[in-house]
Symmetry: C2
Subunit: 358 residues, 2 copies
């Protein structure tokens, strides 16, 4: 077990932060981010067993890709609180982050769908190829519970600085598409209650992002479009950043956040915009939780320019909440799954009006 | 309330069947299909309140369409068995099918996402247009419970003959894409336990079907591809029809059924193929139910040539089961929802092997 106690000072977009890199004994990387340098020797840490490489296969009819990862069947499923793998060390459990304290941490997923390097042994001779890429876990806090709202503004800014650091590193190593995201709530299958997100680094540009890149390259300007809606779809604004329900939302209460100028990703945002985006990440989560008086289950992602390259790609953060009413899930059934056409029970302008009032 | 007691004899693909057309007092059409002419006066029937027209909106980024149907929020939700709207008349409840008995019935949905004609009053000035089309309910049996397996071969053949009748009529009125489908199980949001499917008639070709049409037009031959897999993905065969797990399946235990020759839709199938398809619809449902010893929740659809036109489109029936293990749902979370990339825990060749053995 090696520990490099050097802290790297990162010149952040809004604030300077420190990063400490720790190499786990199984070869996985763990990065601890904070406003102060991180110290302390690592204790016992959770390690991965050698897991098989996933495969990538192409659907010749839809022209989309799927990842085949049978080893993920064994992954952690609703661990007891005492077995929280994202807890700091010293609580009695062996954890992924073997330090007594930390602010924010990002580490390589123990059950990755995408993995760097060559296949450890192909599952079959059939696949199109190994699923190269990365899957990382983003731990927002050492606390076992919380939300993007409850962690506070400082921690949200730290999160954005850490994500920018990962965007730059993953793009530099050739990632075709990097997507930070958060699944929240048992209703979307979240198996760990500890507040966390993930990052997937794809070796290809997924179909919806390729379609968006084509639309932006062809001249579509989401910021100009948004301006034309006259505030009717707006939920909240902060500095140069707005939260709104897009008129073409597919989920009830779907909410997007974006800078109100053309901007390809958080790496290109100003200090004020980063602070405003951080504030709105908290504000939107607060509003979604207030809507039905309970934590809103959602799927949230950062949608930035593929490869970091396209300057005309408009960066958005997209929340897909999955309740259509108190205690009532929006189910995605045959129409959505077989045709991609969503039937939406809550019109976005009505959703925006309700969220705006909260 | 008018009742036309004429029965029309339909020369079926495999067997001749009768159709009785009944116009409900609210203008909705009800068609009763059977092997014998249907008789009897209609009793009291469930009628629709005037419902708003849905809207169709285009997502400029994904280049896909959504249907906005706020009036659907009020739709039937887990009615008590006594209030089964698909029951035959005489059981105490007012029903959609006001006859003492029937074999199979297809009627216009009371809460349609797609509706013929002009909008009754636009929801907003924003939408791209009214959501023209049709939504129909297909009732497999007068029994309150059952499955595609339990209803038996005669009823499955009748179902296929009735679907062909609807395909031909909807294509004749200009439908761009007709999709019969079945949602099954509470886990996919099914609100009525009575065995039934649906038909959506779309005014446009949805993206996955447009992609498939392009692939077929470019020369992709699924039947030749299937032949090359050497039976490794096969689940069962019957006459000239096969059931298999496609190598590029996105759902665990995803199973397709198709004629082993190029065939655009069930209207182009021979009598033997219709009988074989009917047998496999029952057999696949039986196997999926046997897999975990409980009714498998699934989303199943008939994927035929858009508009009935493209002769090179390969007809398939696709079952998307949503359990990845006993009692464990396959959740579609951020990766699937934000990128369209599916992570699959069960490799299709292993799924096929398990289903084949049952």
């Amino acid at each position: 077990m090696t520990s490099d106690v050097t802290n790297i000072l990162l010149k952040g977009r809004a604030r300077d932060v420190y990063r400490r890199d720790h190499a786990k004994a199984d070869g996985r990387a763990l990065r601890v981010y904070g406003y102060s340098p991180h110290a302390g020797e690592p204790g016992e840490e959770l390690l991965a067993s050698a897991s098989d490489q996933s495969e990538l296969r192409r659907d010749p009819l839809r022209d989309t890709w799927s990842l085949y990862a049978p080893h993920r069947q064994a992954r952690t499923f609703n661990p007891s609180a005492a077995a929280d793998p994202l807890a700091p060390a010293g609580g009695g459990a062996v954890t992924e982050i073997p330090f007594r304290d930390f602010e924010l941490a990002i580490f390589d997923n123990r059950f990755p769908s995408l993995k760097p390097g060559a296949p450890a042994g192909a599952l079959t001779g059939w696949a199109e190829g190994p699923a190269r890429g990365r899957c990382e876990v983003v731990v927002y806090t050492s606390a076992a519970e919380g939300s993007l709202h409850s962690i506070g503004q400082d921690r949200r800014v730290l999160l954005l600085e850490a994500l920018v650091d990962r965007y730059l590193a993953l793009h530099a190593e050739g990632a075709a598409y990097v997507m930070p995201f958060e699944n929240r709530g048992e209703q979307v299958g979240v198996t760990l209650p500890h507040p966390h997100g993930q990052i997937y680094s794809f070796p290809f540009v997924p179909a919806p992002q390729a379609a968006a890149a084509a639309a932006f390259a062809a001249g579509y300007d989401l910021t100009a479009d948004h301006l034309g809606w006259g505030g009717r779809f707006d939920v909240a604004s902060e500095g140069g950043v707005s939260a709104f329900c897009p008129p073409f939302a597919r989920f009830p209460f779907e909410t997007w956040i974006m800078p109100r100028r053309r901007c390809p990703g958080p790496w290109a945002m100003t200090a004020d915009e980063i602070e405003a985006l951080a504030a709105l990440l908290g504000d939107v989560t607060r509003r979604l939780d207030a809507l039905f008086g309970a934590p809103m289950p959602y799927m949230m992602s950062f949608q930035a320019a593929p490869g970091g390259a396209a300057r005309d790609y408009q960066f958005t953060v997209q929340f897909f909440p999955i309740l259509r009413d108190a205690g009532r899930l929006k189910f995605l059934a045959s129409v959505e799954q077989h045709t991609g056409v969503f039937t939406v029970d809550v019109v976005p302008e009505a959703a925006a009006e309700r969220l705006r009032a909260l």
